[in-house]
């Protein structure tokens, strides 16, 4: 199948598909980061994670509307940063509320959290549909994100894609630093490794649980915010990504952030490269199937945390 293309064409095909894969990778990483924190650290399956992401996207959409209708045009370019912060706090607050009202009663029954959060995701989807309508909405990109950047005359990359990628890198590093260095991060890891002992040395484990869950949801909100840069938002858009994202997290080794990033990279690159040569659905089937088979052979994922139990 390569014979029809010249060498230069092949290179640019791979570069362009690779770049498309990098955008998919950014969405995966941003979604999976939140999930990896919630699932990897707390053992809670949050099926409503996609809907939290969409909440962030809708917050961004609303902010951009407010900016374009009430504020002078000169500041419109900066709406995204404010929207992102708002999205983080709105989804984080909702996450904390959900943890308080539902999740904390179910910690000992992980499979039941799965069902409860699925119910939550249905409710949230219908809420979005009632409030924002069933049609997809998109934001108007500010001027500085429009257009594309030509690397060679055959390879062009869109600027919003580059922006989302840089954003992903910054957020990933921030999250990694936070889990490693900050007080909350250290407390979270202590609680994960040994809950009774962490409680014994004076860590308020319930508060740590709530903050961790809120943080995971907040990152989903940022993911949603970034998602508006590359795609449009609909009530059910979160559902499209949730299975893939869970696979990313499990494939990467649930409690390892590096693993999450590595597996998101592998899966997104494999999928977008194959998409060019096969149909989109077959590329996805092959990718997911490979991941499932690898997980059957190596259930602990690519990177696993070694600890005494």
């Amino acid at each position: 199948m390569f014979a029809d293309y010249s060498m230069a064409e092949l290179t640019s095909i791979f570069a362009m598909q690779g770049f498309a894969g990098l955008i998919l990778f950014s969405v995966f990483v941003l979604m999976a980061l939140g999930l990896a924190i919630i699932f990897g650290q707390m053992g809670v399956i949050n099926m409503a994670h996609g809907e939290f992401m969409i909440l962030g996207a809708y917050v961004t959409y609303l902010t951009s509307n407010i900016f374009s209708s009430y504020l002078p045009e000169s500041v419109y370019g900066s709406y995204f940063f404010i929207a992102m912060i708002l999205a983080f706090f709105v989804t984080g607050a909702l996450g904390a509320f959900i943890e308080w009202s539902v999740i904390r009663h179910l910690y000992k029954r992980p499979l039941d959290t799965l069902l409860a959060t699925w119910g939550l995701s249905l409710i949230m989807q219908q809420l979005y549909r009632s409030i924002f309508g069933a049609r997809e909405v998109g934001v108007t990109l500010p001027d500085w994100l429009m257009g594309s950047y030509a690397i060679t005359d055959m390879i062009e990359v869109p600027i919003n894609g580059i922006f989302v990628m840089i954003l992903t890198i910054i957020i990933t590093i921030a999250v990694a630093l936070m889990m490693q260095k900050s007080r909350l991060g250290k407390q979270t890891r202590a609680v994960v490794q040994n809950r009774p002992m962490a409680a014994a040395v004076g860590i308020n484990t319930e508060r740590v649980d709530r903050l961790t869950f809120a943080l995971g949801c907040g990152i989903a909100g940022i993911a949603g915010s970034a998602f508006t840069m590359v795609g449009s938002t609909g009530p059910t858009a979160g559902q499209l990504y949730i299975v893939d994202t869970f696979l990313v997290v499990v494939f990467g080794g649930a409690s390892s952030l590096i693993g999450t990033v590595a597996s998101a990279f592998t899966i997104s690159q494999a999928q977008s490269t194959m998409e060019f040569f096969l149909s989109g659905s077959m590329a996805k089937v092959l990718t997911l199937l490979t991941v499932v088979i690898i997980l059957m052979l190596r259930p602990e994922g690519l990177f696993s945390l070694k600890m005494r139990r």
């Binding site: 699932f39 650290q41 707390m42 053992g43 399956i45 099926m47 539902v102 009663h105 179910l106 910690y107 000992k108 029954r109 992980p110 499979l111 039941d112 959290t113 799965l114 069902l115 409860a116 699925w118 119910g119 939550l120 249905l122 409710i123 989807q125 219908q126 549909r129 009632s130 609680v191 994960v192 490794q193 040994n194 809950r195 009774p196 559902q239 299975v243 869970f246 696979l247 499990v250 649930a254 409690s255 149909s279 659905s281 077959m282 996805k284 089937v285 997911l288 199937l289 991941v291 499932v292 997980l295 059957m296 052979l297 259930p299 602990e300 994922g301 696993s304 945390l305 600890m307 139990r309």
Partner: protein, 410 residues
């Protein structure tokens, strides 16, 4: 005293009889042919819910991919019916007569090899029973032999359901794509679209459901059933007692798959089509709620759960379509948080004692069993402990914490 036969107790028998009366007498008398066919459709979901009672309620294995097996059964039946419906005479206007219409639309000129055997009805029946079991066996061996369970198993089965849906939709020429396999007409020359045929199929479906219910009852009452419960509670202890835990899990997962597939095949016969909408992750999780609402430990509850949820879905969608998802979501959260034992639990705690007041003592065995045979799941503490064999350390810590406390209590 309290037993009829070796595996069914008297009060259980009375409940079986009540359900039989509802399905075989009350429903056909009270409903017209259209509604009866709809109830028949709901009852096909009861098969899946029953399978979930076995593998989730008793085995502690939550599969989010039961729609896969329902779909496999349904597709096998649909393939046979479609081949019969696309005889060369019926499809003379096609460019290649004798192949299903959607293949012709997708420029296929001959029947794919895996469609060929479905000309035979005997092969179809065997395929419906065996194919899902083989598929479940492959998944089961890969997962349980490596001691993967709990939430990991749920995620993988969900991914399998997603993969199969994408595959079916993507391979339009071979599977009928997103529309599924439609326009099914006859079974061995017997028109399945008439009201009379639908009524007969309803009763066939009911009988098959009871066969499966008795089979499930038999499994639960056997030593295997006891072992399953023991495994669900303390898997490592069962393993240390010398049992091969994974084989029991694989068996119950395959049994659940086969039961679901029977439901799928009956669905195709009664509704007249099969499509990927019944395979994917959404419907698969929806099927779990039938089981959860009925009571995850109650085989008869599964039937009531499937009936109630689907009846509610139809009536809600007819009058307030936008409220349905709210109701469904609330149902998921409510069942899990407020009454994890579902309708069966509610019956045991509230209705049975109330009934006892009004029923003469001689007939108490009809309403309740004095000694509840299964310790129910309480809302606050865990009875279903999953994730013991996974990498999921936090669940482990919590579990061992709880385990230690319960030892201290003993």
């Amino acid at each position: 005293m309290n037993k009829v036969g070796s595996f069914i107790e008297r009060y259980q028998l009375s409940h079986f009889i009540i359900l039989a009366v509802i399905i075989f007498v009350v429903m056909p008398l009270a409903l017209d042919s259209f509604r009866l066919n709809m109830v028949g459709k709901y009852l096909t979901y009861a098969f899946v819910a029953l399978g979930l009672v076995l593998c989730w309620g008793y085995g502690g294995i939550l599969s989010l991919g039961q729609g896969v097996f329902f779909g496999l059964g349904g597709y096998c039946m649909a393939m046979f019916l479609k081949l019969e419906a696309s005889s060369p005479e019926n499809t003379a206007i096609q460019s290649t007569p004798g192949i299903p219409d959607f293949m012709d639309w997708n420029q296929l000129t001959e029947l794919p090899w895996f469609w060929e055997p479905f000309h035979s009805f005997a092969f179809t029946i065997v395929a419906i029973l065996v194919l899902p079991a083989i598929f479940a066996f492959i998944i089961g061996v890969a997962m349980f032999k490596r001691r993967v369970g709990g939430v990991y198993f749920a995620i993988i089965t969900q991914a399998v359901a997603a993969i199969l849906t994408i595959l079916i939709i993507g391979q339009q020429g071979y599977t009928g794509g997103v529309n599924g396999i439609t326009d099914l007409r006859t079974l061995h020359g017997w028109d399945i679209r008439t009201d009379e045929a639908k009524n007969i199929l309803y009763f066939v479906n009911g009988v098959l459901l009871f066969v499966c219910l008795f089979a499930a009852r038999f499994i639960i009452k056997s030593k295997l059933g006891r072992l399953l419960v023991a495994m669900r509670e303390r898997e490592d202890r069962v393993r240390f007692s010398g049992y091969d835990v994974s084989s029991f899990k694989i068996f119950i997962f395959c049994a659940a798959a086969t039961i679901s597939a029977v439901g799928g095949a009956m669905f195709t016969l009664q509704v007249g089509f099969m499509s990927p909408t019944f395979v994917g992750t959404g419907p698969s999780i929806e099927m779990v709620i039938f089981c959860a609402l009925g009571g995850r430990l109650a085989i008869l509850g599964a039937v009531y759960g499937a009936l109630v949820v689907n009846w509610a879905k139809t009536s809600f969608s007819e009058s307030f379509p936008e409220l349905w998802l709210f109701a469904m979501g609330a149902l998921f959260i409510g069942v899990v948080m407020a009454f994890p034992n579902g309708l069966a639990g509610l019956y045991q705690t509230y209705i049975a004692p109330w009934l006892q007041k009004y029923v003469p003592e001689k007939f108490h065995w009809i309403v309740t069993n004095k000694y509840a045979e299964e310790k129910p799941v309480s809302a606050t503490t865990s009875a279903t402990t999953e994730g013991s064999e996974t990498e999921d350390s936090s669940a482990d810590t919590k579990k061992s914490e709880k385990g230690d406390l319960s030892h201290a209590g003993n």
